[in-house]
Symmetry: C2
Subunit: 686 residues, 2 copies
């Protein structure tokens, strides 16, 4: 352990200090900043010297780990080859002495669980690497840490001397992908699992059914894939392939079959499940629908029993997610027979009826040896305490559940489809807010969290860009010490992670470029890139006329292309703040002026292109607004830099221009306008 000046105080206090010092206890902040690990490990000590990554690298697998360790080591060498360009032969005769010792103490559980130890220790010296862990999960994580530590310097690719003692803060760190509203082929899932492995995530929550489609082949109930999937579903062989792929990467696969609402597509296959008589078709629109299963009929439970028994065998994980969200009760209140049933069973409202349904469902799930998981709405005193609640409502909901003895995980604040910046997700903590007051014992019931990728507005072409790199911020929140919260540092590390992910085959950067070229019809994208760089899609559920959208609508517009978060706008906001602190600084002025100049010129450069493409013509007003806003910014800059007063009429006019420019256009926002407004507002009125 390298010296820590306040070693006598508590370790935690030392930790806080370390975090303040760019997280790493090194002499120079510069050194530390280059160690851009994400998620930040629980404990790290940096030594001196570095381990050169060259062809003499020889791995020795020791201990008694299972077959995953060998496969992980092979994949590790492949990744290393790709990242460095240095070839490593798969079957090279090991003549030289091993210098990369992987010691896995024992095999993992046959079925990975949240309780399984994920810790590892990685020691890198100038000559040797030692990676040890109690089981393969830690080895997987440690190999990822090593890959992230590789730096290219004057001597070549190297990893600095370091000791990492690491384990996650939460045992449940997940990503949910909705494959119902849009379908995603196996290769999309696989490359996202690769991304998850890189960020030490351990749960892939597969949202397999919803109103818009049922996506798994059933051998027992084949009408599901025949009538509820539009031909877009995973065969059971594909499901097994994905599960194996995930297990190799230390990732559990939790399936979700959403019941009793969000099930319109089910009724297209098995109308007898529904509360109303139908007829039913696969839903094409978005939203919450009235259709719901009939919880009063035995036949409903018989069919669900058949399905769940089959799916429980297909998916080995201990947990089985039954959805349970957003049942509006209308299908039940409109059915006299169901109303009579409710009266007979003293069920006061639809929530009670859903609880009745869930109790029956829980027994079916339990019979298969599984633990039931569901969204907030399933919470009801009648359910046994082994169920797990996934909360889209927030920490209060989790805290309440925890006090009542239920385990839970947070998804509130981690909805990636809402197009929020990484910073916002990053600061959401499962143990903050109302959960902060829980006892230690109660806190343990909060298992972690899951980011959610709902799929109304994503396709295989743009989904990676909706998940990554922001997902990495959530991954860090769920793995790293709670005190790790510096936004600037997070963004610096996020930029590196984003590049690393491309080496894994994720397409967020590549496909952004491809979609831009689609928009321009193959013309040069540079001018469009200037415009697109300052735009973001509308936030939250503001995408207008979302109900007018359907699953067949092309998602090939500029709004579908621009990333959820504009780095240009984020950096510009910082530049403007810097300038406003010191308007006399030539450099600060220059930076802001240069940006504004580029945006002001952009409209005329783009005009012909925007007019010539059916997909881009909607961006003409945005381009005009950017030009006007940039002009306002330039003039404000002149006033501020020269120290002159600004005429009131001019200020009013500019603020009204900016107000216009702040309005959504083509379902996007110009994200630099608020910073330009700051400039205008900072001028001194006459």
């Amino acid at each position: 352990m390298i010296p820590c000046p306040i070693m006598k105080k508590t370790l935690k206090a030392c930790w806080l200090l370390l975090l303040g010092a760019v997280l790493i206890t090194t002499a120079s902040a510069e050194d530390a900043a280059t160690l851009s690990l994400m998620p930040v490990p629980a404990r790290i000590e940096q030594g001196s010297g570095q381990f050169l990554v060259g062809q003499n690298l020889r791995i020795s697998l020791q201990g008694r780990g299972d077959a995953r360790v060998k496969r992980a080591s092979d994949r590790f060498l492949q990744r290393l080859s790709l990242r460095t360009g240095i070839p490593f032969l798969p079957a090279e005769p090991s003549s030289s002495k091993p210098n990369f010792i992987v010691n896995c103490a024992g095999p993992g559980l046959k079925i990975q669980t949240p309780e399984e130890d994920e810790s590892y220790r990685l020691e890198v010296t100038a000559n040797t690497v030692h990676l040890s862990a109690p089981n393969p999960l830690g080895i997987l994580h440690g190999l990822q840490t090593f890959l992230q530590l590789i730096q290219l310097g004057p001597e070549g690719f190297a990893v600095p001397s370091v000791v990492v003692d690491d384990h996650p803060r939460f045992p449940w760190r997940g990503l949910m992908i909705d494959v119902s509203r849009h379908f995603f082929p196996v290769e999309v899932i696989k490359r996202n699992l690769d991304g998850m492995e890189a960020l030490k995530l351990d749960v892939f929550h597969w949202h397999l059914s919803d109103d818009q489609g049922f996506r798994v082949e059933s051998k027992k109930l084949p009408k599901f894939q025949q009538h509820a999937s539009d031909g877009m579903y995973y065969t059971q062989a594909e499901i097994r392939e994905v599960i194996e792929y995930a297990r190799d990467r230390g990732i559990r696969v939790v399936p979700e079959f959403d019941m009793p609402g969000h099930a319109t597509s089910w009724f297209a296959a098995y109308p007898e499940l529904a509360s109303a008589s139908g007829p039913y078709e696969i839903a094409r629109k978005w939203g919450v629908f009235n259709a719901a299963m009939d919880p009063t009929k035995d036949s409903t439970y018989r069919l669900l029993n058949t399905l769940i028994a089959e799916m429980a065998r297909l998916f080995p994980d201990q947990y089985f997610h039954i959805g349970g969200d957003e049942v509006n009760g209308k299908a039940w209140s409109q059915n006299a027979r169901i109303q009579a049933f409710m009266r007979k069973h003293n069920l006061e409202n639809s929530h009670d009826l859903q609880a009745y349904f869930n109790q029956k469902l829980q027994k079916i799930v339990r019979k298969q040896g599984k633990i039931m998981e569901g969204w907030d709405e399933i919470l009801h005193p009648g359910l046994p305490q082994d169920i797990v609640v996934q909360s889209w409502r927030g920490q209060k909901s989790l805290a309440d559940a925890s006090r009542r003895g239920y385990r839970g995980l947070l998804s509130f604040g981690y909805y990636l489809d809402l197009m929020e910046p990484a910073s916002r997700h990053y600061l959401v903590d499962p143990l903050a807010e109302q959960a902060a007051d829980l006892t230690a014992e109660e806190k343990k019931k909060i298992l972690g969290g899951e980011a959610c990728m709902w799929a109304e507005f994503v396709t295989p072409t743009n989904i990676d860009g909706r998940i990554w790199p922001r997902m990495a911020a959530v991954a860090e929140r769920l793995w790293s010490p709670q005190e790790v919260r510096d936004l600037d540092q997070m963004y610096a590390r996020l930029a590196k992670v984003s590049r690393d992910l491309e080496w894994l085959g994720l397409t967020h950067a590549t496909n952004r470029r491809m979609m831009m070229e689609r928009l321009t019809g193959g013309a040069d994208i540079r001018s469009l890139d200037v415009l697109a760089g300052v735009l973001e899609p509308l936030k939250g559920y503001d995408r207008p006329d979302a109900k007018e959208y359907d699953s067949l609508m092309p998602l090939n517009r500029l709004v579908d292309t621009v990333p959820p978060e504009s780095n240009v706008a984020r950096v510009f906001a910082g530049d403007v703040d810097l300038f406003l602190k010191n308007p006399a600084s030539e450099e600060a002025t220059h930076v802001v002026r240069e940006r504004l100049g580029r945006w002001r010129e952009n409209r005329s450069q783009l005009a012909t292109l925007l007019q010539s493409s059916a997909l881009l013509s909607e961006a003409i007003p945005i381009s005009q607004n950017l030009e006007s806003a940039a002009a306002a910014g330039q003039q404000a800059l002149d006033y501020l830099a020269s120290g002159k007063h600004a005429p009131s009429a001019w200020r009013e006019q500019q603020l009204s221009i900016l107000k216009e420019a702040e309005k959504p256009q083509a379902e996007m926002l110009i994200m630099v306008v608020p910073s330009i407004r700051k400039l205008v507002e900072a001028t001194v009125p006459e």
Copy 2:
């Protein structure tokens, strides 16, 4: 047929005229330039109006084609979805009337042959598309033509009204990939097959064995994969998968097993095959080796018979390539027993002995029902006339063979590993030079050509960029009318093809960026891009110390990253010529000055980066040379634009600077120096 002013003359004359008018008979050259088909079809007529590509597209498959047509149509819809962003459901109920009629008259041959008809007719009107062909091959080609015709305009994605009557000029249009010197996993092969389909290529020549590795699993002779492959080989299941994948794309797969030379790796597995006693190891260096099979022993032919029988069953194609190139005879001349054998059989030299070997081999190949193919060297009067000669020597070699009754194909001029510009490959014609004088009957024996991707200096990361887009120029040469040879038009179409290929998953553009980021260690690549943009790898076999390279050497340098052809340099050469024609033109001067300015500034922008990366430090002298050359160019520009005379001392000094800058550095060339030299030489001496 739209009016052609010289319709009364021969069609061919009309064709020439059409070609002159940007290939298409339209009123406006602008319209025609946008129809950037590659390869240019045999015949095309443009009408008025356009077919809008929208969700109402309904394909109807008619006629009696085989199952490939349905699969091609499914893939076509997927491609269409990707390219336009418009979703097409695979199992959509076909309510509306079909507007895209695919009529395939009959099934294809069970085993595709060079004689099989590849023609098709594509008619597009404002309302309907009709694609017809005698068999699935034409349908495949026609679908690719349709995809290339899609344009994005103010009304959306559309295909102009057009009638295309198309067929290839040559029946054998191939790409050879060497998977021995470096190994390429199945996904690399598949994405290149996708590229081949897009360019209407029909032969994938798989160079499966060489000194550096034997890449196919043999069930009968498993030592091949065990001892001759470093663990890098294709299983038979993978081979079958690739063959099926290729067949679905109208591509034959011709395997090559190189014998009796280029077989060192074989001897690591079966040393008894060799002429000398060994011991043998897999070769790691490049070059021509002495080791060769022993053609005098019966046991050699018994083993080859076993191998060829197995491989002939695995690879269904009619043709079987036995290599036969570059046997230097040393292994034979150094072996007294072999020398005695030669005397006994009246074999005067090693060429005679190889012919003896080939005759025996040909009988083994023939016994499996296959036609033997080999490189130039196999030509020998003793061989039957059904063999096919692949010529790396040139048209003379082909013409000679043809006169002697042998069929042949050209690879001379199509070696993609030599880093030549697309223009050079493009202008090489199998029926030019000595072959131009052949009779029509003799010309028919020249089946076409194959580009060759030898793999000394390629990895899975950069191979796509070595093959594409230049390969498309060869594809056009082999498909389109001989008269299609305009370079500017070719380059314009090539740029579009290059973008299209990225949608197929080819990585030439993406991986160039990734490799640049690898070089910078993740730092911003823009400044490096300016330098890299003017560089090309050394040409031909000039890569210095090639013999010092081996198969384990990292190919992660700048030379491995920059494309074989610098578009920047090509465009700059044109700009300089334009300027020199009219030095008074402000615009022409501005264009050249702007470029020179950027290059002159580049060194200082790059200096820190180049010093900090072990992979980039070798580029420091290049960066300095570019700076000096650009300065020379700027000064020359000043003299030329001002009309002033240039001092002789200055001229001499600049020319010597440029001479230095023209020298290879880090195995690369600065491709803009010759144009800068033109500027300096154009100055008027005092």
